[in-house]
């Protein structure tokens, strides 16, 4: 995760790709990670399917249902990651809802995630208040528990969350669920600027990012972008090369 801070210092923007583990079969997981790291993404979020993904829109929910139909579980994903026979060159972050973690056991989860080569964890339904359920175990394994902040996060709370932020901060750029959108609201720029001023770690914008126009709009106000639904759908439709211009638009050296 240190790499992310270095990237920021060098003035480069990060591109974080989200994939749904096991969409299309568990064997796709390694292939997708290899492809993305070769394409120059900065980090990869490995999504774990869940039966009731209330923070997700139709694209990721559908991908999760396909993965569940393949019999994918948190355990299978971590096992598969431990068996990777290629060099993982970018930080991997496990993104999962809380319940599969509780069922698996929080401590066991952090131990296995560490063994699987993960650097961090994102749990969208674990608010800052309840982080004690996971954080002590994550710390033991030196995994960072990445926090989300949103347009509705009030200032005093934002400061509290950012004070403790590690790895990167996930700035949610829509008031809503995940999924591609045509436009982002005007207020997003002011929001990400505010977050960036307060944050000790890089600030990445996510939810709804799917177009170069989104990147252009927020480029100066964030340290990177998280793209989920667009990547998940492109992998599903076997046309991931369509996303290459977007990856390049973010990661290419840019006059700042």
């Amino acid at each position: 995760m240190k790499r992310l801070a270095e990237l920021k210092q060098a003035g480069h923007k990060a591109f974080v790709a989200y994939i749904m583990a096991g969409d299309g079969g568990i064997e796709k997981l390694g292939e997708q990670i290899q492809y993305l790291q070769e394409r120059g993404v900065t980090a990869i979020e490995v999504g774990i399917p869940f039966s009731d993904p209330v923070a997700d829109g139709p694209t990721i929910e559908a991908a999760g249902n396909r993965a569940l139909a393949e019999g994918i579980t948190l355990e299978k994903v971590l096992d598969e990651m431990q068996r990777f026979d290629f060099e993982v060159k970018v930080p991997l972050v496990i993104m999962t809802y809380l319940n599969p973690v509780i069922r698996f056991g929080a401590e066991r989860f952090t131990q296995e995630a560490k063994k699987a080569g993960a650097s961090g964890i994102i749990i969208p339904d674990l608010p800052f208040e309840h982080r004690q359920l996971i954080e002590p175990f994550a710390k033991q394994q030196e995994l960072v528990l990445i926090q989300l902040v949103t347009l509705t996060t009030i200032d005093s709370r934002l400061e509290e969350i950012l004070k403790q932020a590690e790895g990167f901060v996930y700035a949610v750029t829509v008031t809503g669920i995940t999924g591609s959108r045509d436009e982002l609201a005007e207020e997003v720029g002011a929001f990400t600027r505010k977050v960036r001023e307060l944050s000790p770690v890089p600030v990445y914008a996510g939810f709804g990012i799917s177009k170069e126009s989104h990147v252009d709009m927020l480029r100066d106000d964030v340290d990177g972008f998280i793209v989920g639904s667009a990547i998940v759908q492109a992998f599903h439709e076997d046309r991931i090369e369509d996303l290459e211009p977007l990856i390049d638009a973010v990661t290419a050296p840019h006059s700042v």
Binding site: V54, E75, I102, L148, T152, I154
Partner: protein, 602 residues
């Protein structure tokens, strides 16, 4: 309120019994109660998140202490030896320093301690680290001492703890041998000690458990995406304010009386009493409410609250359609915008209610995902709320969801139990021996049970849906077959597979067809105050016929589960006992199901 620490825990069931305490202690020093770090880790996992985990040491090295703090992990350290101040300073978590008190001179030492808290005990005997002997509490009176850092230990038990607290006003009381029988912890003594220490009031104990993050024991909380946290916190504050506002309460009760038609009778069921040959049966008639079920009690309360918060758009989920109808009704009354999410499967089996909602001006959104039932409708309502949170209130229909919903829904539904209590006292001059209510998410049951929780003589029984049977794949018996998990914003009991995927529930009754149970019910099941039994589809249908023909009351399918369970309870009850059944709703909405399932009825 004085906090309670249960010390020297070694066994799982004793940690669970201490769930209402504020702190648990693990002894790492030589003692018959000594545990290894690994054991403390295992035990610690069973405790509530907000519970303090305190490690007890005697002259241990800094490395040993820090190792335990990190590994368990401990939130506080308690020192019983001759630890130097330098050591105390180095420890990162708060430190409790223990002192043996014999004479007034010993009290002087307390004020010199640099620790965060000072623990006073009687002089030890075999081992250092507490003796179980009582010391003279009066030594602590009339000396200058900061009682907000005082922890009282030594010979406390359930009989003397109240006196000790009133005499010394400590920050916390610490007990170990006082909650043991024959040298081993005793679950009953632990619970009684906590109850005594906290003023023997379940009401206060419960208030304490939902403060500050809305937990009932280990269940509850606010497990929602960050986008919703602001709305959830605002609601928490707004409800707290409204609850204590006499004007709000007056308005709420005005609508209950003038619009819903309360209070509802507690009807003596003479023919059922005779037919069952056991206790006197009384029926709490929620079926007589406007809109036909108890759901409207909560819908009015929340709709008034939404307006108070300046929100004029309402989203709701519905299973059987009763909550959807109640919400659509209230939105018509108050001219609020209303959208209701309902599973496709439920829309099919509850067409009458779908039409009622539309007639009332609500938009009904069909949910085709998952099993197309209540769980999926809640998912969609949550997504809608995340997207429209700034101007929309989510009017949850059961005692579910993130805090404050489970508490708020319970409070609005408690009118059921409060009326029942007053009515049974008027009619019989005493409290009932047993009360039965059906549970899906659990709102009518918690509303009925809550005013009776402190009345230990009243047995409380929840009837959940067994569908085809609890040993089949098709049931909704969450408390019989479920396990701890997080769904729809709260830690509760849910039906799930080994990988933590939530399973589909099955019940003939759309209102009970939900794979979770509200957090307070999960807690009441754990502490044994309420027992939960499962009733199959067939048993419920048989009860529909029985009550219709004996009492001329056609119950809702949900309520029929309570009736079937009541009949079982009645078998082992006597003629001088009283049994109350909550008839949560009437059966009109289920007529299509009845016509199909009971075809050929003669």
């Amino acid at each position: 309120m004085t906090r309670v620490k249960i010390c020297g825990l070694m066994e799982e069931q004793h940690v669970k019994a201490a769930s209402q305490a504020d702190a648990i202690g693990f002894v790492f020093a030589p003692s018959k109660r000594r545990v290894s770090i690994e054991r403390a880790q295992e035990l610690s996992r069973l405790a509530n998140n907000d519970m303090q985990r305190i490690g007890v040491f005697v002259n241990a090295s800094y490395e040993e202490i820090e190792n335990a703090v990190k590994a368990v992990p401990l939130t506080m350290v308690q020192l019983h030896g001759d630890e130097p101040d330098e050591l105390i300073q180095r420890i990162e978590v708060p430190v409790i320093q223990a002192f043996s008190i014999r004479t007034p001179d010993d009290v002087e030492k307390l004020n010199n301690s640099i620790a965060d808290y000072i623990l006073v005990d009687a002089p030890g005997t075999d081992y250092r680290g507490g003796s179980g002997h009582v010391f003279d509490w009066s030594l602590l009176e009339n000396v200058a001492l900061d009682h907000s850092r005082l922890i009282l230990a030594g010979g406390l038990n359930r009989d003397n703890v109240q006196a000790a607290i009133s005499q010394t006003a400590p920050f916390m009381v610490d007990v170990s041998s006082g909650v043991e029988t024959d040298g081993r912890k005793d679950e009953v003594k632990i619970q009684q000690f906590i109850l005594q220490a906290k003023g023997d009031s379940m009401e206060r104990t419960q208030e304490k458990t939902i403060d500050p993050v809305g937990f009932f024991g280990r269940y509850g909380g606010q497990f929602v995406p960050e986008t919703l946290m602001k709305a959830v916190k605002e609601l928490e504050a707004a409800y707290e304010d409204a609850k204590n506002d006499a004007e709000f309460q007056k308005e709420y009760h005005h609508y209950l009386k003038e619009y819903v038609g309360r209070e509802q009778p507690l009807t003596f069921a003479a023919r059922m009493t005779e037919a069952w040959g056991g206790p006197k049966i009384y029926l709490k008639r929620e079926d007589l409410n406007h809109t036909g079920a108890h759901k409207v009690n909560n819908a009015i309360g929340q709709a008034l609250l939404a307006q108070r918060m300046g929100k004029r758009k309402i989203v709701a989920e519905t299973g059987a359609g009763q909550h959807g109808v109640a919400t659509a009704t209230i939105c018509a009354l108050f001219d609020l915008d209303c959208v209701v999410f309902m599973g496709e499967e439920d829309i099919k089996r509850q067409q009458l209610n779908v039409f009622r909602m539309k007639l009332l001006g609500a938009r009904v959104e069909s949910v085709t995902k998952g099993s197309g039932t209540l769980k999926d409708a809640v998912n969609e309502a949550l997504r809608y709320w995340v997207t429209n949170v700034e101007d929309t209130h989510y009017l949850i229909g059961s005692a579910l969801g993130p805090h404050p919903f489970p508490t708020m829904v319970r409070d609005f539904q408690s009118v059921i139990g409060k009326e029942t209590k007053r009515q049974i006292l008027e009619k019989e001059g005493r409290l009932p021996d047993a009360i039965v209510a059906c549970v899906g998410g659990g709102s009518n049951a918690i509303g009925m049970f809550h005013p009776f929780i402190e009345d230990a003589s009243v047995r409380l029984i929840g009837a959940e849906a067994a569908g085809d049977g609890v040993d089949t794949e098709r049931h909704a018996a969450t408390l019989t077959k479920g396990s701890e998990g997080v769904l729809h914003g709260a830690m509760m009991k849910i039906l799930q597979d080994d990988a933590g995927q939530v399973q589909e529930a099955h019940s003939i009754s759309a209102g009970l067809d939900y794979p979770g149970i509200g957090p307070e019910h999960a807690h009441l099941a754990d502490n044994g105050r309420v027992t939960y039994e499962a009733i199959t589809d067939d048993e419920a249908l048989a009860s529909v016929i029985e009550m219709s023909r004996l009492e001329g009351i056609i119950p809702a399918l949900e309520s029929a589960h309570a009736i079937a369970e009541a009949k079982k309870q009645a078998q082992s009850m006597t003629a001088d006992e009283l049994l109350v059944i909550c008839v949560s709703g009437r059966g009109d909405k289920d007529m299509a199901t009845y016509a199909e399932k009971l075809e050929g009825l003669s």
